[in-house]
Structure formats: structure tokens, C-alpha cells
């Protein structure tokens, strides 16, 4: 039972990493796009490509937090007590990002837009770094069990946390650029496609290099995770490496429609490998999943809500993506369709 909920929890973490990660990464490319003139076109693409519901991806974060506090209250308590600083920074970053999302489209002056854009981009790097540092703190056993606080500073500034933070930022940038290449091609902008293709290759190689260095970091700083990654999680690690290499290969050969799912697979596999390596611990070597779990009826409630979400939410999301792909009705259809004329424009419907 607790295993099922732990899987649900990790599903939330993985989904947030993959969907939220792409959003954060887009902000990263926005941040380093250069001056106002040089960066204008990449920024315009970033702005456009960030999906219709991108801030709704925080739902996965909320989902993860709620499942953690409901299903594994003791671990949640320890994590929140110990990692107060990076989690607060992440929350503030989310406020900044979310507000600039809410306002950027509605403000019209250039300076206001630029300010909102800068906030958006900076927090897009801050939030994944903090999240990665939190993951590193947990993985390296710096969060003590038993509802007591670990060290407020050194708990998230250790080697594994730095690795986690840097890797998270790199992974986000990598995910986003694979998506941006495909988008640029879709709009027939070869220049911009080349621009993001180069960046995808750099990001892919850098991410792989960081992951490789990470193995040595984990060997010295998070031995339990290292042992897990080299034994029971090894197949997942290999899968991740294969996906990453495949994605790199297809990017070089300009088969971007294949590169993107492989990139997603590589990132998802890294997160899943972490989970498998850490098993059966919630907090490595101090709190097991089975020890920290809520009573069964609570776990059942979480599973029921999860299934309901899948049944109700997925079709709605599908409808939204369908609408996103569909062009505006008013543009294509003949002007004589009276049923549509009402909704089509703000003008009074013409005579029938």
C-alpha cells in the first residue's frame, strides 16, 4: 500500500521534472539570450512556445507536496524543518515567475515587459536549482528523521546538493531547447532552429558530463544512492544514458521529432533512477517508506483521488491541447455561419 503511494509520489516528482522542467528551461534560455536586440527573436520564440497551461504545471508540485504531507507526514515534517531556506527561496521564485506570467501578457509598456521578463527568467533558474539542492539534501541523508531539524545551512550546501541543483538547471535547459528547436522548425525559421540546435547539443553534452561527474560525487557523499545506482537502479541508469545518447544522435541528424521524446525519457529515467536507488528509504537510511506512511485509509484516499484525477483531468487536458492545435473557427469558416458569429467577435452579430 505505502509502495503504491510512493510510486504515485514519484510519478508527481517525475511529471513535475519533465513538464515543469521544460518551462523553467525556457526561462533559462530567455535569461542568457543576450541584449535586447540580439535576444529578441529567441525570446519571442520562448514566449510563444511556453505552452498554454505552463503555470498549471505547478499543479504537479502542489500534488507532490500534498501527497507527501498526507501520505508521509513524518518525512514531510523533517524535510520542511531542515530545508526551510531552499524551499522558501523556491516558493518566492514561484511567486515571481507566476506573477510575471499573470502580468507579462497584460502589461503593454516595453520597460514593464522587460522587468517582468527579467523576473521570470531569473526565477526560472533559481527555482530548479533550489529543488535540485533539496533532492540532493534528501539523497545524501542530510535530512534527519523523527521530526527534528537538520542543519539549516549545511544540509543543502553539500556536494550532492550542488550536484542536484546544477544538474536540475542543466536538465531544464536541455529539455527546453529540444522543444524550442522543433518549434522553430515548425515556424519555418531555419536561423532560429540552428540557434537552438547548437544550444541543444551543448546542453546535452554538458548535462551528460555533469551526470558523469555526479557519479563520483555520489560515491563520496551519498554512498547509499551510489550503491543503489550501480546495482538495482543500474538498468534505469543505462536506459537514461541510452535515451540521452539517442536524443543527441537524432539532434545531430536533425530528426527532432525523435530527439524530444528521447530527451524526456532520459530526464524521466534520471528521476526514476534516483527513486529506485533510494528504495526502500524515504530519507536514506533513517526512514523507510513503510515506516513513514500514513494509515491505510489515508493512503487509499490518495489513490482514489489519483485515479479520479486521471479519469477527469486527462480528457480535459486533451480537449485543451486539441483546441490549442485547432485554428480559430472564425478565420476558416464562412461568414455566413450564424451560430458562430456570436462568439467570433466582440461586435454585435450582424443581421441574419
Amino acid at each position: 500500500m505505502s509502495t503504491a503511494v510512493a510510486v504515485v509520489l514519484f510519478f508527481g516528482v517525475t511529471t513535475y521534472a519533465v513538464f515543469g522542467g521544460a518551462d523553467f528551461g525556457a526561462g533559462f534560455w530567455d535569461l542568457i539570450a543576450g541584449g535586447a536586440d540580439r535576444g529578441a527573436r529567441p525570446r519571442a520564440l520562448v514566449d510563444h512556445s511556453i505552452g498554454p497551461v505552463w503555470e498549471a504545471n505547478h499543479v504537479w508540485l502542489i500534488f507532490t507536496l500534498v501527497v507527501l504531507w498526507t501520505g508521509f507526514s513524518a518525512a514531510f515534517q523533517s524535510i520542511m524543518l531542515t530545508l526551510f531556506v531552499p524551499l522558501t527561496l523556491a516558493a518566492l521564485g514561484i511567486v515571481l515567475r507566476g506573477s510575471s506570467f499573470a502580468f507579462r501578457k497584460s502589461v503593454s509598456t516595453t520597460s514593464a515587459r522587460r522587468f517582468a521578463g527579467a523576473l521570470f527568467a531569473t526565477s526560472s533558474v533559481l527555482v530548479p536549482y533550489c529543488m535540485g539542492a533539496v533532492a540532493g539534501a534528501i539523497a545524501s541523508g542530510r535530512v534527519p528523521a523523527g521530526g527534528v531539524a537538520g542543519d539549516w545551512w549545511s544540509s543543502w550546501t553539500g556536494p550532492t546538493s550542488i550536484l542536484g541543483g546544477v544538474l536540475a538547471v542543466a536538465v531544464c535547459a536541455y529539455l527546453a531547447s529540444t522543444y524550442l528547436v522543433a518549434d522553430a522548425i515548425r515556424f519555418g525559421d531555419a536561423d532560429l532552429a540552428g540557434y537552438f540546435r547548437r544550444r541543444t547539443l551543448v546542453a546535452a553534452i554538458l548535462t551528460g558530463a555533469i551526470a558523469f561527474v555526479g557519479i563520483f560525487v555520489l560515491h563520496n557523499d551519498a554512498r547509499y544512492i551510489y550503491d543503489g545506482l550501480t546495482s538495482r537502479a543500474l538498468p534505469v541508469v543505462i536506459l537514461s544514458a541510452l535515451c540521452g545518447a539517442g536524443s543527441l544522435w537524432f539532434t545531430m541528424r536533425d530528426r527532432h521529432s525523435l530527439a524530444r521524446p528521447l530527451a524526456i525519457g532520459a530526464v524521466a529515467a534520471v528521476v526514476i533512477a534516483w527513486g529506485v536507488a533510494q528504495w526502500p528509504y524515504l530519507l536514506p537510511q533513517t526512514l523507510k517508506v513503510s515506516q513513514g506512511a500514513a494509515p491505510d485509509p489515508t493512503l487509499w484516499s490518495i489513490l482514489v483521488v489519483f485515479v479520479l484525477a486521471a479519469v477527469l483531468i486527462l480528457p480535459s487536458l486533451a480537449l485543451l491541447y486539441y483546441l490549442d492545435q485547432r485554428s480559430a473557427l472564425g478565420v476558416d469558416e464562412a461568414a455566413g455561419a450564424p451560430a458562430i458569429s456570436v462568439a467570433r467577435s466582440a461586435q454585435p452579430p450582424g443581421p441574419r
Binding site: 499543479v59 524551499l87 483531468i313 480535459s316 466582440a346
Partner: protein
């Protein structure tokens, strides 16, 4: 610990401030879709161009306020852990269940707001109209879920503790459906429609006072004001039942509300006034026997009301907390009564003259009704939260024992206060600017609001 300042008062302040800010956005998220539905229905059914314009513009305002509400809601999720880790650690297994349900509604609401905004140009009118229904249902469902969690804090149940105080068994159904939950949930849903209605109507009332008395403004006033005018008297009735529930089940809170130092019958209803540290009440207007009579009309003046002296822990709640609760109660009920009278004026005018009141005084009052209803909402929130002190989970966990031990909370309080003030100011500025652009006859495309569709690529990529 980080900079050793006692975190408890700062954690309380931060939670109060962020919840107080979020609760202003809630009525807009919950009730606006319903008003848009009325306008949209009129637009299609009667070919009403003004109503159509209203529905379209409202949907864009909704997107902006919902996006900000999503952010302030995410912060609250973090804060449950960051500020109250012991509360979550000990009771998360029970308290978390309504929040899991809430997440479902929140996700649905976000998706359907996006669908509605997309749909203006991509769906046929009637199917598009019906996409408002999930927004309305999830708005109400989300409110009920969160309030169920709050009701559980007031009236905890549905769990078993072992000797060391750990939750060993949970009955999810009883956690969600506590005895306080139906009253509190209905009270908050009505509050959302009441505040949302008055708030939106007040903007159009202000516009009419500036001479914009065209049909568009009248309709923009009448739709939300009518919703609020219907919700207000219902709210007074529900509030009355809730007060009687509090009398029966939360006697400490009731004693603070009614400012009753000593248990007795024939308790007067004290308007304003305050409690002194020696247990006497000074000032205020006393209406003899009314508090007893309202507590249980069947026994009238002889109804016994428990006083603050009846509760074992002396000094808890503190005199200051009692006075805060009583003042907040007076403000809520006072403003609620005033708004009921305003609603009655509006209703009478429709009944006898078949039109809304035309006088400037009415419009002035209507323009103030938005702010007044927000103050009443905040006051009601203060009554339930301060009235629960010193408990976070009544009889199980005190606020001071639930808080984080991180001494740096005062910093996060200051930062988040500054940030929220900036966000709030920007929100108002952005909405005013949207309205100015519309008045200047510049249309705002759906792609220019959050959750809206992406603009056409050629518009974007041309340097």
C-alpha cells in the same frame, strides 16, 4: 537556528497575511464564472452584444485573477510545511485528505478556464457556454474542500491516536464531513458569491457615477449585484445557524464572540465594547437578553451562555484575542446587516419600479459595497481563526507547538509581505489598464491574457 528570533508570532503573521490576501482572490475565482455564465447565456439566447462583450472581457479578467490566485495558493501549500511542520507531521494523514481532493478541483478549474478563453474563437457558442459549468463546479468544490480542512481544525475527528499521540487510524469520510463542515462550507461559498458580486458590481457602480450610464455598464452592474443581493440575505440566515452551531459546539469561541466573561443566563448582546483584564466589560451598547435569546430562541432569555471563566486554561484565549474576535464579529455582522439593507433597497426598487435604483446615493453605496464586503469577509475569517486560539487543532495541538523552529521566519514574513504588496498593486494596475484599453476601443486578444491561446507565429517572429 537561523537568527534566533521567536518564530511563532512571525509564522502566525505570515500565515494570516498570506491567507488574508488569498481570500480576496477566492471570491473572484469562485463566483466570476457564474456571472460570466449569466452574461454568456443572455448573449446567445437574446443576441445581446453588450452581454457578449461583458462575458468576453470578464473571462479575461478572470484569467488574470486566477493566475495570481494560483500563485498565492501555491505559497499556502508551501507554508503549511514551512511554517507548521509539526502540525503536518502529526496530523497530515488526516488534514491532508481534503487538500488532496482540493487539488483535483484546482487542476480542473485551471484547465477549464483555459478552455473557456481558447473557446471564444475555437468552439461553437453553446458547447463553449457549457465549459463554464466545470469552472463553477470546481470553484465551489475547491472552496468546500479547503473549508472542510478548516472545519476539521475547529472540530477535529475521524482519526485515532495511540498513546504517543501518533495518528494510527483515519476515517477519511469523517475527516471531510465533520459536524462544522456543512455550516462553514455553505457560509464560505455564499461569501464568495456575495463578495464577488458586490466587488464586480462596485466597479461598474463607480463607472456609472462617472457618467458611464450606458447599457453595457448597467448590465455589468445588474448581473453581479443581483447575484450578491440574493446571496446576502441567505448568508445572514446561514450565518445565524453557524453562530448557533458555534454556541453548541465551540463554546470558547462563542464566549469571545459575544463578549461573555461569566457563565449566566439573560446575557445581553454587546455591540462594540471591550473586555478588561480583570474580567469586566466596559463600553458598548448592551441589548438586554438578546445574546441568550439568539443562542436558543426556544428557551429565550433563560438560555445559559458559557462565559470565558468556564474554560480550564486561564489566560487562553488572551484578553486581546477575545477583544479581536468580538470586534471582528461586530464588523462582520454590522457590514452584513448594512449590505442586506442595500440588497433590500435594490430588490424593492425592482419589485415596485421594475428597474434598479437610480439615485446617486444608491450608486455611492453600491460603489462602496465591494470594499465593505471584503472587510466583512476578512472579519469573518478573523472570527474563526483568532476564535480558535490557542489551538491549531482544537484540544489536540496548540499553535505555539505546531510552528517551525526556524528563527528566520521574520525575514520571510517581511519579504513575502513586500512581494505580495507589489503583486497586489500590479494586479490592480493591470486590471485598470485593461479596462482603459477597452474604453479606448482597443480590443484585447485572447492571446494577451494568461491561459490564453498562443498568438499566431507570424505575429511573434517578425522582428
Amino acid at each position: 537556528m537561523l537568527l534566533g528570533v521567536n518564530p511563532v508570532p512571525w509564522a502566525r503573521s505570515q500565515m494570516a497575511f498570506t491567507l488574508g490576501a488569498h481570500i480576496i482572490l477566492v471570491p473572484l475565482g469562485v463566483a466570476w464564472a457564474f456571472m460570466a455564465m449569466i452574461a454568456n447565456w443572455r448573449a446567445i439566447k437574446r443576441d445581446d452584444a453588450d452581454a457578449l462583450l461583458l462575458a468576453q472581457r470578464w473571462s479575461k479578467y478572470m484569467a488574470v485573477t486566477f493566475a495570481v490566485g494560483a500563485v498565492t495558493g501555491t505559497v499556502l501549500t508551501f507554508e503549511f510545511g514551512l511554517l507548521w511542520p509539526t502540525f503536518m507531521g502529526r496530523f497530515g494523514a488526516a488534514f491532508g485528505i481534503p487538500f488532496a481532493v482540493e487539488g483535483l478541483f484546482f487542476f480542473a478549474e485551471a484547465i477549464f478556464i483555459a478552455i473557456y478563453i481558447y473557446g471564444w474563437k475555437r468552439m461553437k457558442p453553446w458547447p463553449h457556454f457549457w465549459t463554464l459549468v466545470p469552472i463553477i463546479i470546481s470553484g465551489i468544490g475547491g472552496t468546500v474542500s479547503v473549508v472542510a480542512a478548516n472545519a476539521w481544525m475547529n472540530d477535529p475527528g475521524g482519526f485515532t491516536l495511540n498513546s504517543s499521540g501518533q495518528v494510527t487510524n483515519v476515517h477519511p469520510w469523517s475527516v471531510i464531513f465533520t459536524s462544522a463542515m456543512p455550516y462553514e462550507a455553505l457560509h464560505m461559498v455564499l461569501a464568495a458569491y456575495l463578495v464577488g458580486g458586490f466587488l464586480i458590481a462596485s466597479v461598474y457602480a463607480a463607472g456609472m457615477l462617472r457618467g458611464r450610464r450606458d447599457r453595457y455598464h448597467r448590465l455589468g452592474f445588474i448581473i453581479p449585484f443581483t447575484v450578491a443581493a440574493i446571496a446576502t440575505p441567505l448568508q445572514m440566515l446561514v450565518g445565524d445557524s453557524l453562530a448557533r452551531y458555534v454556541y453548541n459546539n465551540e463554546p470558547t469561541k462563542f464566549a469571545a464572540i459575544e463578549l461573555v466573561p461569566k457563565t449566566s443566563s439573560d446575557v445581553p448582546e454587546t455591540l462594540l465594547g471591550h473586555l478588561n483584564s480583570n474580567g469586566t466589560v466596559t463600553g458598548g451598547i448592551k441589548i438586554p437578553g438578546l445574546a441568550s435569546w439568539l443562542s436558543d430562541p426556544s428557551t429565550g432569555k433563560s438560555t445559559v451562555v458559557q462565559g470565558l471563566n468556564a474554560f480550564p486554561t486561564s489566560g487562553e484565549p488572551t484578553v486581546r484575542e477575545v477583544n479581536t474576535v468580538h470586534l471582528a464579529w461586530d464588523i462582520m455582522v454590522g457590514l452584513g446587516t448594512a449590505l442586506t439593507l442595500l440588497a433590500a433597497w435594490y430588490g424593492a426598487s425592482w419589485l415596485f419600479r421594475r428597474r434598479m435604483p437610480q439615485s446617486k446615493i444608491f450608486l455611492w453605496l453600491a460603489a462602496a459595497s465591494g470594499i465593505a464586503s471584503i472587510i466583512a469577509l476578512e472579519a469573518g475569517w478573523v472570527v474563526t481563526e483568532v476564535g480558535r486560539q490557542p489551538w491549531i487543532v482544537v484540544n489536540y495541538l496548540k499553535v505555539q507547538n505546531a510552528a517551525t523552529t526556524n528563527g528566520g521566519v521574520w525575514i520571510t514574513f517581511l519579504v513575502i509581505t513586500a512581494l505580495y504588496l507589489a503583486v497586489g498593486t500590479t494586479l490592480v494596475t493591470v486590471m485598470r489598464r485593461m479596462s482603459k484599453r477597452w474604453r479606448a476601443e482597443v480590443d484585447l486578444d485572447e492571446s494577451e491574457v494568461p491561459y490564453g491561446p498562443r498568438p499566431e507565429p507570424e505575429k511573434v517572429l517578425v522582428p
